[in-house]
């Protein structure tokens, strides 16, 4: 019988302690962020989808069409094409398509890129109803940017 009352006492006490903790938390500052009214700055290393970097001198892409990113991609979501302009020894980029529907954001393309022609973007609000919105023409994006 005494065990019953001891348990009743310790049990009630434990509930009161728990309530005390929640009451204390009630008066502490709010930790949630009111998205979409407030947004966070993405970290420098944030792995978004890829985008082409710009050569500061020419304003063109740094891509040399070596195809290493295409080869490194586990899901094959990158398509690169290029051709040699007349009188030039190097290939120039003509097409860079990223199929974002199959991209898993692993970053192996960026790692494999020797001339640093691709980087991670900071975009994360990418919802859409149309599947075609996720076929990114990165060269077009670069031209629109500059």
């Amino acid at each position: 019988m005494s065990g019953y009352f001891t348990e009743l006492f310790t049990g009630t006490k434990s509930l009161a302690i728990g309530l005390g903790i929640t009451i204390k938390a009630f008066f502490q500052p709010v930790v949630t962020l009111q998205y979409p009214y407030e947004t966070l700055e993405m970290k420098p290393r944030f792995r978004g989808h890829i985008q082409l970097t710009q050569d500061e001198e020419t304003g063109e892409s740094k891509c040399i069409v070596c195809g290493m990113c295409q080869k490194a991609c586990p899901t094959g979501c990158i398509t690169v094409a290029g051709k040699k302009p007349e009188g030039s020894k190097k290939k120039a980029l003509t097409r860079y398509i990223l199929n974002f529907t199959t991209c898993s954001l692993c970053g192996q393309c960026v790692e494999s890129c020797k001339p640093n022609a691709i980087e991670f973007s900071k975009d994360y609000n990418l919802a859409s109803f149309d599947k075609n919105d996720f076929i990114f023409d990165l060269l077009k994006r670069l031209k629109e940017k500059s």
Binding site: T12, I21, V31, P44, R45, P74, S104, G107
Partner: protein, 372 residues
């Protein structure tokens, strides 16, 4: 079990728990044969999220499988990452720089704490308490922010590479980790006051869902499930890998075999992980984070290799059979929760439904890892 449930003359009925049920944490379906409120038979039905990870590993190069490892156990992704890179490094004979090993330990242990914090919240949620989940998420958020700053993603990390890690950490990560540890140290007593000592939790977990030691050995359960049944088995101590032998930490073991013991193992493990991280940060050597001589196209010599790591849910093993080409001949992944779930059918026999759910929560199931 009551006499009512034992009598064969009573009618039973079949009830589906899942595949869309909040308490199964994913697409697990459990076919329950019920006698009133008592479980006569609980048969887990798997395969709803099977993605052929092993087969995928066999038809792509070694490096291309790296992102997959983070997508099996999404809560402790870095341990899976670790297991895979270690197995391939062992096969190809790649030496890993010491700094990279330390960084692997720091990030894996941080990830382990975040996994246990989420389990803590979700487990108490299964038992009907909503508030602790929000407290746990507040702390877990800090870890995700820290790991995002280093790895670039918040959940499906792909940070380890063959022969090292993706990139070096900055000082603010180390300072932030130390600050987080002192924060969590001050919050753990609060968790114990709010949840562990709560009379309702004690009544729901004590002596509920016993898993006797012989059941653990028969089903091959590992991790906190085995340690809650009195087995002092942790791969970090028993089969030391990486730089774990250099740290001083204990393996929490409880012999009660009930749900409360498994709960306590995980709560104590968080403290031990914090100890490991602190020591690792203090000892962190300078130097490169990536081995220099890693060939671009890996072709490990033909052979059979196995490597296991201690993930948050138990031992995760990777078996690689290489035939000397740039893709594995066979890739076998041993996931801990598959074995841990297997014992559920036997352990839950004759339990009340609510108690069976408490037992299931204490197993800490992650369904994508069971199905792979």
């Amino acid at each position: 079990m009551s006499e009512f449930a034992l009598s064969q003359t009573q009618e039973t009925f079949v009830m589906n728990l899942g595949p869309q049920h909040p308490a199964t944490h994913g697409v697990l379906r459990v076919k329950l044969t019920m006698d009133g409120e008592y479980v006569v038979r609980a048969e887990p039905v798997l395969g709803y999220i099977h993605r052929m990870h092993e087969k995928m590993g066999e038809n792509r190069t070694w490096a291309k499988f790296l992102p997959n490892t983070g997508r099996m156990d999404y809560l402790h992704a870095l341990a899976y990452n670790h297991g895979h890179v270690m197995a391939v490094e062992r096969a190809a004979g790649i030496e890993v720089p010491e700094r990279a090993e330390y960084l692997r330990v720091i990030t894996t242990e941080l990830n382990r704490i975040s996994s246990h914090l989420l389990w803590f919240g979700a487990f108490v949620l299964d038992l009907g308490g909503f508030t602790p989940l929000l407290y746990a998420f507040d702390d877990r958020e800090q870890i995700l922010d820290l790991l995002e700053g280093v790895t670039g993603s918040r959940l499906t990390y792909c940070y380890y590479r063959f022969g090292g890690v993706y990139n070096d950490v900055e000082d603010d990560f180390l300072v932030g980790t130390k600050a987080f540890i002192s924060r969590l140290r001050s919050r753990l007593p609060m968790y114990h006051g709010l949840v562990t000592k709560n009379i309702i939790l004690i009544k729901r977990l004590k002596d509920i869902g016993p898993i006797p030691p012989d059941m653990v050995t028969r089903y091959g359960a590992t991790g906190p499930v085995a340690r809650g049944s009195g087995f002092n088995f942790d791969l970090r101590k028993n089969e030391p890998y990486s730089v774990y032998p250099e740290f001083d930490f204990d393996i929490p073991v409880y012999t009660e075999c009930d749900s409360m013991a498994r709960y306590m193992v995980r709560m104590d493990e968080m403290e031990q992980s914090m100890r490991i991280i602190e020591q690792a940060i203090d000892k962190l050597p300078e130097g490169p984070v990536k081995a220099k001589k890693v060939p671009k196209t890996l072709k490990p010599p033909a052979g059979d290799y196995y490597c296991a790591v201690e993930a948050a849910r138990g031992s995760f093993g990777v078996r690689i059979v290489s035939d000397g080409t740039n893709t594995p001949y066979r890739l076998k992944l041993r996931s801990p929760t598959y074995s841990n779930l297997s014992l559920f059918e036997e352990a839950s026999e004759g339990m009340l439904l609510a108690d069976a759910l408490a037992l299931m929560g204490s197993l800490d199931l992650v369904i994508p890892e069971i199905d792979r």
